[in-house]
Structures are given as structure tokens and as C-alpha cells.
Symmetry: C2
Subunit: 352 residues, 2 copies
């Protein structure tokens, strides 16, 4: 089969995808958490459908244009959360367009963002649900204190065209304690104001199997879990067999006894290290390090003989699956029941 | 103007591009070197035309499909060198297609690659020019010794459908001495065999202004010089004013006094570090470090007050321009004479 596939190629094992989806859905069901997968990892309406079929209540997107292309690709996507501050007339007008098509929620972490949303949605028949993004230690976006979160919730509730929808966080890895404490405090403050807190949504694949340490949360947004990757194997979260996304590459040169060059470089594997050494794992070859990438070349080195021939293919688990998805216009999808299919990555490279 | 552009956006200053092209062409003309720019940096037929107008004798591509899309985009591209080992029936058949359209050369660093090329081109009216790729210290592809290079040159010359076209290297930065020595030795060996060495082609923007240290070379293949980037500023090769490619980003959150979040993450800037600290330079703000990227977020931190507001735009010089080009389906091109235009990046994301 590999002979028909032009390398470098992103390969998706759909049977592994199904198993990965079922595993977390079952955990979440046991613990009373709703699941709202982040589609940034796959950007494929077909995989979103598998997640919804398994029990997810909707999807998470980072961009409005990502969401629109997902919705255009599947009429079964009816509930979307955008976990991003949406700013600017053009993006807000697309957000309005999206709100006409699905049950929509979005986040905000400042008055400026809330006021922009309000201006776009005021006077519309259905208010836009807005969640307050909270910084529980990842120090990316998010209001920095429970008081500030409660104040922003009140501002949302008082804004024309908007409804306060709850709390969202992108937590630091291992940050369950901070999430529980921050969200618990905000919830108490907001309820003391007479508002009810809808969803409390948290995420992150590395900590998903201990999500029960956050009883305050109502929803989980895993992303990478659908494919897994080398960073998650390194964390002990999964094994190589659980990695659904691999990059198939061809050996194009064996210029030294311990070195080979493959046609997967940073255009396929990306330079994301996520704290690891090397740019991916060659399946079946623990002795090999991918120690250098240029755009179209990956360098494989071994302490011993490299034992590869020009023209031979290798399969690589990348450090970070999500970013690999964005590099390619299409993926090769394999399953026992359907064989090999080529799917366009419809939500790739979106800007708006 | 920035108000009309949806961020994150890749911006190209065409006037700076013209200046960058003219600067190296003039140097090369003075030193009797032909110029064959590597189009991986821009992937735009329009920019290739500017390079050809300035005096380049042709273009360099890394992939056959890149070259085909460039040629389809401009009938002024008539001479192409593919600096990659082309392997496999599908890629070889595209190579034949390309050979019908332009004057074509390709490289090889092994008998296996040469034999594949010969099988594809044997019996065709015009032989394919094949250059021997030499490893002059970058330890990527390339034959490892002058003897091996000379032997491969003889093999090419004796192969049906092929003509020996010369020597190619992708040298290490600062590797002029190695290039001169390796190429000089190979040339002597090959000429002693009664073969003539056509082009001797080397490249790399960091060392291009000292290309005269390699009198053995006949041709230079600069890539990044057309745009420049933060890595080249850090090496002292150019200044910020010479950087033609910038990423325009919007501040989406200012969650702390010394921190802001922009909508350009690794999907726009990429994770390429090239030995630098941080993921790009915010123009006009030497105090800011872009210390963390996720796909859609870039984190800006300052020792002092960050002094940015939600909705404000910033312009960033990325660490590595070439990889940014591959992230985006289109670029925003600005010039004094033509204003703002949007150009599709036609050679982006090519596989074959």
C-alpha cells in the first residue's frame, strides 16, 4: 500500500482514532463530564462526526473560519465553542454568520473583547453565549484573578446581545489543583452576584485521565487525544500503538554508515520540540534520532549502523500531531473496513 | 491599510525585495558568478520573474511539483535546477514532464538515484543534466569524498539518458574553505578522467557576500536573501530594514502588565529557532521577547510595561522567512508603485 502513497505523507489510522475517542468518552461519561473535542488536532469534519457519534456534545475551534469550514463539511456539527478572543469587524461578521448556523459560544478575557461581541450581536434575536477565559497558571490568555473573572461575567450579563455562558480555561499541565481552586472561587463569587454559571470547561490531553480531580468542571476539551503523539508517549499518557497519526517518509540518501536522509523535513514534521530531543520517533527504530530538519530533509542518525536503503520508507510519530495536521492539504486515512482514502484537511491554514 | 488586512498576515515589501535581489546580483556579476535563486523562500512566480529580470540564469527548486507550479505561473522560467534526489515512479514521471517544458538539471548523490533517473530518461531525445551533490561539511545529503564524487560523475556520464552536468553542494555556514578544497579536488579528478565539469554550484545566504572566496564555484543559489529574516540580522548579514517579509499580528489579550498575546502563533511564525532565543522580533520593540507560541497564540513579554492594547497590530520579523512562506495560502504584497496586492503562494505545500 505504501507504494501508492507519495511521500512525505500524513497517515491516519482510523481504527486507532476510534479507540482513542472511545477511551476518553467512556472516562468522561463515568465522571459526568461532557466532552467537547478541540478540532485543531484533526481539522476534519469526518473525525468530528466520530467524536459526536461517540457522545461529544459539540466541538471546540480556535478560529471562526475553522468552525465555518467544519460546519460546511458536516451538518451533524450543531454546537460550537470558539476558545479565542474574536476581534475586528470581519471576524465578528463571520461569527454572526456562524451563530446563524449552530448553537454558538465564545470566550472573552477583557471588556474590550466583550464590547466588540456586544456591538456585533446587539439586537439579534438570540444572544451569544460568552464564557470568561480564566488564567489558571498557563499564563497565556485569561483574566488573572477570580475577582476579575466575576466582574467580567457581570459585564457580559449586562451587555446587549450577550448571555453569560460560564468559565473556560486552558490549564497548565498538572494544573488540576489550580483549576479547582480558581474555578471554585469564581463560581462562588458569580453565584453570590445572583448569576448562574453554565459550563465550566477545561482541557488538555496530558491530564485528561485525571480530569476527575476537578469536580468543579462540567466539560473537558481534549484535542491531541484523538491522534496522540511522541510528546504524549514521552509523558507516559499513551503508547506508540495509540498514535493514530504518522508521517510516512522515503529514505532519499544514505551518505554515511550511521546517517540517512528522509524526505520529511520541517514542512512535514515541523520544528516543534515540546521539550523533547529530536524531531520525531522512527517506529521500530529506538536507536535512531531525527537530529536535524531542514524544510525538505530530515536527518536520521544512529549510534550503530543506520541499516536503511535509498527508496525504503519509514514511519514516524511526530513530536506534536496538531501542528503536522496544519502542514498538509490532505491526509491518507486507513481503516480495516474502508481501506485507504484521501481526505482534504478542510480547516487547514485558516486565518479569520 | 493594516485595517483592511486580516491577521495574522504575511506581508511582503516588494521594494525591499527588489533591493535585496539587486544587491546580490550586482555582487555576483562583479565576481563572475551566475545566480540561480532558490525559490523555496518565496514560492512565487512573480518574485522569480524579478530575480530573472535582475540577471538570474534560472531558478532552484527542492521539489518537482514546486518547479511545475512555478513554471505554470510564469512562462519566463525556462531553466530549473532541482537540488534533490528524485526517487519513485510518480516523481520521476513528473520530472520527465518538467524536462519537456524547461532546460532541466537535477542532482544525485548515489548510484541508486542515478539509475532511477537513467531508467526514466533513457531513449528520450534530450539527456537530463545530472550534477553530483557533494557533502562539504553540512552532513546532510551528498557524497562524502572527492573520489566518490568523481566515480559518480563517471557513472552519470556512462548512463543512458543522462549527461554529467557538474557539482552541487549545500555548504555549512562559514564553509568556504571546505567548498573550495572539495570542489577543487573533484574537478581535477573528473577532468583527469576526460570529462568536463559544467556548473559548480554552491549556496547559502549567510555567506553569499563572501562567495568570492570560492573561485572554483561558477554559480550561487541564495534563497533567504530575497526576504531576509531575524536569523540573518542576528548574524550581521542585514538589518531590520532589509527584511522584506513580516508577519502582521493583532494583540488579542493584555492579561498582565508585562505580557500580551497576539494572534500569530506557530501556524504563522513556526517553531523554527535557528539557534535564537524567542520566536521573532517585534519591530520597534527591542524590549519584547516572543517567548512562547502555541498554534494560534504568540506570547509577548517585556521586562517593563508591555504598553500594548487589545486590537492594536504589531509587525514581526520571523526567525526564518522560508518556513513562514509555506504556512500561508497567500501573502499581502506591498509596493510604492502598485499599492497592496494579494498573491497566492502557488508552490506552497507541495509533496511530489
Amino acid at each position: 500500500m505504501s507504494d501508492e502513497i507519495q511521500t512525505p505523507a500524513v497517515m491516519i489510522d482510523l481504527d486507532v482514532v476510534r479507540t482513542n475517542i472511545a477511551r476518553f468518552q467512556s472516562f468522561a461519561d463515568r465522571h459526568g463530564l461532557t466532552v467537547r473535542p478541540h478540532i485543531k488536532t484533526h481539522k476534519l469534519p469526518q473525525v468530528a462526526e466520530l467524536q459526536l457519534e461517540a457522545g461529544a456534545i459539540g466541538i471546540t475551534c480556535q478560529k471562526v473560519s475553522e468552525a465555518l469550514s467544519m460546519v460546511e463539511g458536516s451538518d451533524r456539527i450543531k454546537d460550537v465553542l470558539i476558545t479565542y478572543n474574536i476581534i475586528g469587524d470581519e471576524k465578528l461578521s463571520r461569527l454572526v454568520e456562524l451563530a446563524d448556523r449552530v448553537s454558538l459560544s465564545v470566550v472573552a478575557d477583557s471588556v474590550a473583547v466583550v464590547d466588540g461581541l456586544s456591538a456585533a450581536f446587539a439586537g439579534r434575536p438570540k444572544p451569544l453565549r460568552v464564557l470568561v477565559e480564566c488564567n489558571t497558571g498557563a499564563d497565556r490568555c485569561g483574566v488573572s484573578s477570580p475577582d476579575a473573572a466575576a466582574a467580567l461575567a457581570s459585564h457580559i450579563a449586562a451587555s446587549a446581545g450577550l448571555a453569560f455562558g460560564g468559565l473556560m480555561t486552558y490549564p497548565p499541565v498538572g494544573g488540576q489543583l489550580q483549576v479547582q481552586q480558581f474555578m471554585g472561587e469564581v463560581k462562588a463569587l458569580i453565584e453570590a452576584d445572583g448569576l448562574s454559571v453554565g459550563s465550566i470547561t477545561t482541557g488538555g490531553t496530558p491530564d485528561m485521565m485525571t480530569a476527575d480531580l476537578n469536580p468543579v468542571a462540567t466539560e473537558y476539551r481534549p484535542g491531541t487525544y484523538v491522534y496522540n503523539d511522541r510528546s504524549l508517549v514521552a509523558r507516559g499518557v499513551c503508547s506508540w500503538e495509540d498514535c493514530a497519526l504518522t508521517v510516512l517518509a522515503t529514505v532519499v540518501s544514505v551518505p554515511a554508515a550511521n546517517r540517512a536522509i528522509i524526505d520529511a523535513g520541517s514542512k512535514a514534521l515541523t520544528s516543534d520540540l515540546l521539550g523533547l530531543t529530536g524531531y520525531g520517533h522512527v517506529l521500530g527504530r529506538d536507536d535512531i534520532t531525527i537530529d536535524q530538519l531542514s524544510e525538505e530533509h530530515g536527518r536520521l542518525v544512529s549510534d550503530g549502523p543506520i541499516g536503511l536503503k535509498v527508496g525504503q520508507t519509514v514511519r514516524i510519530v511526530p513530536n506534536h500531531a496538531c501542528v503536522v495536521t496544519n502542514m498538509t492539504d490532505f491526509v491518507h486515512v486507513v481503516s480495516a473496513s474502508r481501506g485507504l482514502e484521501v481526505w482534504p484537511v478542510v480547516a487547514r491554514g485558516k486565518v479569520l
